[in-house]
Amino acid sequence: MRGFSVLLQKEFREAWRGWKFLWIPLVFALLGMNDPLTNYYMMDILKAVGNVPEGFEMLIPELMPVDLLQASIGQFQTIGLLIMMATFVGSISKERASGMATLFYIRPISFSAYFLSKFIVMSTVSFISILAGFTASVYYTSILYGTLDIGSLLASFFTYYIWLLFVIAVALMMSASFKTVIATTCAFTLIFLGQIVDMIVGIFWTVSPWKLASYGTLLIRGTMDMSDYWWSLSTTAICTIICISIGIVMMKRNASMVKI
């Protein structure tokens, strides 16, 4: 792990200069605010925009605080992941394409240190992001609806974080293996197609990384089968480690793809 701290510093500085520590958390905070607010003001919004006829009555279901957290996680799962993967998926392949990677690859650095430093910086960014997102969502939920139990909330938060680590590992692995365009396609396909498949035929299995996001809210509801939960969690952790190892190997192999 030669030069690990130097590489880590370089990655942090790059993310800082690109304002990644600021704008991605802000986007997640906005996504988190979105659902509690729109649900709370649904009647007002309908009155303001949609020609509601005289005497029209609509039954809006009584929402529990956990329902709103689930809705916010749903937002993170689509728009949040889209933004996060779009910003991270080019991090290795773009360096190769622009020729900047030459400056690193000619030095005696270890590829695993380089890969891991990228992974650590990205996981820090995503940690701050979902912290902001969860805080915003829970803040609005607690003002407008009611409070959540802090212990299970933390459990759900870290469950979601493990899932995000898996997503980052997949994005980085693809970035190390292919050119930017192909890497983006592959990473998006794997993550989003996995979600769709899990949604459609997911009742037939209970253990998969794609289920973790919904398991987080089940933890709060208290209807979670704990053995399924632990199995999914460990499967995800193993998949993450496998993705990281493949990424390091592919990064080494593709070092010759650098444009000079």
């Binding site: 690109g18 304002w19 600021l22 704008w23 802000l26 986007v27 905070a29 906005l30 605010m33 607010l37 933004i83 779009a86 910003t87 773009k94 622009s98 915003a136 803040y139 609005y140 003002i143 407008l144």
Partner: protein, 67 residues
């Protein structure tokens, strides 16, 4: 006019506006400092200001050119 303004639940709305403003200002500051963007700079100014939330996110994802 003032009564209308007073009726708005500011405790609820204010954080939303603040976050949006910060995002816009950061995007504009970055645009001021950056050397070159994908596409004309003046276009990004208009996108960031008028497409308020989507505009600044779009700028950060596709507008910044990495050199």
């Amino acid at each position: 006019m003032m009564e209308e303004l007073a009726k708005v639940p500011w405790a609820v709305i204010a954080p939303l506006i603040v976050v949006q403003l910060i995002l816009m200002i950061v995007a504009l500051v970055d645009l001021r400092k950056i050397h070159a963007t994908n596409g004309p700079k003046i276009l990004w100014v208009f996108i960031i200001i008028f497409a308020n939330l989507i505009g600044s996110i779009a700028y950060f994802i596709v507008g910044r050119r990495q050199s």
